[in-house]
């Protein structure tokens, strides 16, 4: 029988930021675990198999499950992971400690907001999906909780900017280290991007308390998508940062270019936000020329991802050749595929390529007409956020949880299997969804398995539907394996510092920033932030001014 002794020492004495990063990340994974449970139910729905009647005492309908899936996975998990990674990496790189009081304030705000929003979600009082389009009206606790949750990220912005300012004061004239540079531009981008959601939340909260009788649905949509597109870069850039900063070293190589990596983040700062109308191509009330302007800007935001594809691939090639890979493609086999972190990134980036190509289709003003709001769209973003972003987080957890806790990774084989299965499952599912949306116009977010009318209308796609059921089963197994690995790792009693990475695996670089005119140019972060603000004012200002001065409020409805 095990006798529990008093904890001898707090392992986080001397590194309290490790505890902060661990709590943020594990809260994120807990949210992801719950949200992911509803994923297979969605996949089965698009296979014509309705399991929701079995959940009836607890969950009332498909749309409640879908709301939980979207909110927990796309909004909660992603933000918490960013708050862990994009604060912890600069703290380690600069050798500075963030303001720990405020760090914990941000954690408790996030947790409090999450719990408050969870109550109406679990009671079927907020089944409005993660886009919460007005005039569908949720319980006020949903809007207030979500607002507190999002505002906790503003504390993270402050934490990083404050550390950066402290470092610059102590190191005048030096170029900001790369991970910190990425974190600073990332958080500034998010500040600019989140303003739409914050303003929308003010309207929705006033409306849900009955202070105003209605809200303008088009204005709410526009504010939502003002944040709603750049939020995908808010999800993606922590994955990119980890790919630039840690992946080359983990794979056994070096990052090829530091200055070019900085350019990528400056381009995201500039072009992430003024692109939201490409989600509103089908909307009346926004003139076509504004939509065309956003089309052009959206195309430009592909550039930093194209550069990333080059830089990451070249860095991996350097790694593969350093590991002894020969010939044109021999370096690919020489990469450490048996390292679960490296595997997760490799498979994630592989899925990201067709996902990016599909994104170009969605961003095209004309082509979007064929796929708008069909299941093509969830097919697209499950390749991007469901595969690369999530796999980067999962892969990173495999070394980061041991690094933060001193507890070695358990069940490494299961970790590897989880990533292969996740990749295969997502690939099958997204393949089916793309075709079902494009060829058969099957709508996204529709409880078709519960509707004989819908099943009759979409019967021609039944062969594709089978793939959804298969993928749902594969993904469920992958999720069980993954969550077992990380929770068994984090909750075990064994601590063995000799079995874990003591330091963050910061990469070395081939092209250094010192002496690079590009690196000097990108170092003027506030100047670029100013340009980003101007671009947003130009791309959104006139339209938003028009909408704010001509509001057409509509009363709320609860139709679920």
């Amino acid at each position: 029988m095990a006798v529990k002794s008093f904890p001898k020492i707090d392992v986080y004495t001397g590194a309290p930021e490790k505890k902060y990063a661990l709590y943020m990340m594990m809260l994120g994974f807990a949210a992801l675990a719950l949200g992911t449970l509803f994923g297979p139910l969605q996949a089965f729905n698009y296979g014509g198999l309705d399991l929701y009647p079995l959940l009836k005492p607890v969950f009332q309908n498909y749309y409640q499950g879908l709301s939980l899936h979207g909110v927990l996975n796309a909004i909660v998990f992603t933000q918490l992971f960013a708050q862990a990674i994009m604060v912890y990496l600069p703290a380690r790189e600069l050798g500075l400690r963030p303001n720990m009081t405020l760090a914990w304030v941000s954690f408790w705000m996030a947790l409090g907001g999450l719990l408050l929003a969870a109550v109406p979600l679990l009671l079927n009082e907020a089944s409005v999906l993660y886009t919460f389009y007005a005039p569908l009206k949720a319980h006020w606790a949903f809007y207030v909780g979500a607002a507190i949750f999002v505002l906790s990220s503003y504390v993270s912005i402050y934490l990083v900017l404050e550390m950066w300012a402290r470092w610059r004061k102590a190191n005048p004239g030096k170029i900001t280290p790369l991970a910190t540079f990425m974190a600073v531009t990332f958080w500034l981008m998010w500040f600019l991007a989140s303003l739409g959601l914050v303003v929308e939340a003010l309207f929705l909260i006033a409306w849900s308390f009955g202070l105003v009788a209605g809200v303008d649905p088009l204005l709410m949509r526009t504010l939502f998508w003002y944040t709603g597109h750049p939020i995908v870069y808010f999800w993606l850039l922590p994955a990119y940062t980890l790919a630039y900063i840690t992946l080359p070293k983990l794979a056994g190589g070096k990052l090829v270019s530091d200055p070019l990596s900085r350019l990528v983040f400056i381009l995201f700062l500039l072009f992430s936000v003024p692109v939201g109308f490409h989600h509103q191509f089908s909307d009346p009330g926004i003139a076509p020329y504004w939509k065309m302007i956003h089309t052009v800007l959206t195309m430009f935001v592909a550039v930093p991802s194209l550069i990333t594809a080059f830089t990451i691939a070249a860095s991996l090639e350097v790694a593969g050749r350093a590991n002894g890979g020969k010939g044109l493609l021999g370096w690919i086999g020489a990469l450490p595929w048996n390292n679960p972190t490296v595997l997760a990134f490799l498979l994630g980036f592989l899925a990201f390529i067709p996902g990016g190509a599909g994104g170009m289709v969605n961003a095209s003003f004309n082509l979007n007409q064929n796929v708008h709001n069909t299941v093509w769209i969830p097919g697209h973003f499950h390749l991007q956020v469901g595969t690369l972003v999530t796999m980067a987080a999962m892969g990173t957890a495999f070394w980061l949880i041991p690094h933060l806790t001193g507890k070695p990774l358990v069940a490494r084989g299961m970790a590897l299997a989880s990533q292969w299965l996740w990749f295969i499952g997502m690939f099958i599912m997204t393949f089916a969804l793309h075709w079902m949306g494009f060829l058969y116009a099957i709508p996204r977010r529709a409880h078709i398995s519960g509707s004989p009318i819908a099943m009759e209308a979409y019967k021609e796609s039944s062969a594709w539907m089978v793939l959804n059921i298969v993928s749902g089963i594969i993904l469920l197994i992958a999720a069980i394996l993954f969550f077992y690995v990380i929770f068994a790792t984090a909750l075990q009693n064994r601590r063995d510092p000799s079995q874990v990475m003591a330091e963050v695996p910061f990469t070395q670089v081939i092209s250094k920033p010192e002496g690079s005119s590009l690196a000097l140019l990108t170092e003027r972060v506030w100047f670029w932030f100013g340009i980003a603000v101007v671009l947003v004012l130009l791309a959104y200002g006139p339209v938003l001014f028009q909408m704010f001065t001509n509001m057409n409020p509509v009363p709320g409805q609860r139709l679920w």
Binding site: L136, L260, T295, F310, N373, L559
Partner: protein
């Protein structure tokens, strides 16, 4: 290492140029196709009081009208269906749809065409299309509108 760095930088530059060129071609193609290939992108045709859609104006009387050699259709997308319940057109004639909603957001997606309209209460959407093939065309709501969303499927008929 110095040598390797230079090779990588050369490829880097070529790749970025390729990317920029690709995007430029895409943008030009999008613009060209929008202008020349029958634009079915919905545009706004004014605003309306959503609470009065069912009682006042053109949408209180959802209908298909023949105007000269063309059709005009006033369509209500509501939770959970479309009015008029059945629309008929002759093949080869231009149809202009005006669509709005009396309650929440919906959509008006006509399968096998490029008609795909976000229907927003308070806004009137307008889109024109000429059907060149006779047959039945499913109309599908692809915006979540509540518990009956998946049932919101209708059809229009194009007669030879």
């Amino acid at each position: 290492m110095e040598h390797q760095e230079h090779i990588i930088e050369r490829y880097e530059r070529a790749w970025i140029l390729f990317g920029l060129a690709m995007i430029t071609v895409f943008i030009i193609l999008i613009g060209y196709m929008m202008l020349t290939m029958g634009n079915t992108n919905p545009v706004g045709a004014g605003r309306i009081d959503a609470t009065k859609v069912r009682t006042e104006g053109d949408f209180a009387n959802p209908r298909v009208e023949q105007v000269g050699d063309e059709y005009v259709a006033y369509v209500q997308a509501f939770a959970f269906g479309y009015l008029p319940a059945e629309m008929r057109f002759k093949v080869g004639k231009k149809v202009t749809f005006y669509i709005t909603s009396p309650d929440v957001q919906h959509s008006f997606h006509v399968h096998n065409t490029n008609i795909n309209v976000q229907v927003i209460p308070g806004e009137i959407a307008k889109v024109s299309f000429t059907f060149t093939q006779p047959g039945e065309y499913p109309i599908i709501c692809n915006e979540y509108c509540g518990i009956g969303h998946a049932n919101m499927i209708s059809k229009l008929i194009v007669e030879p």
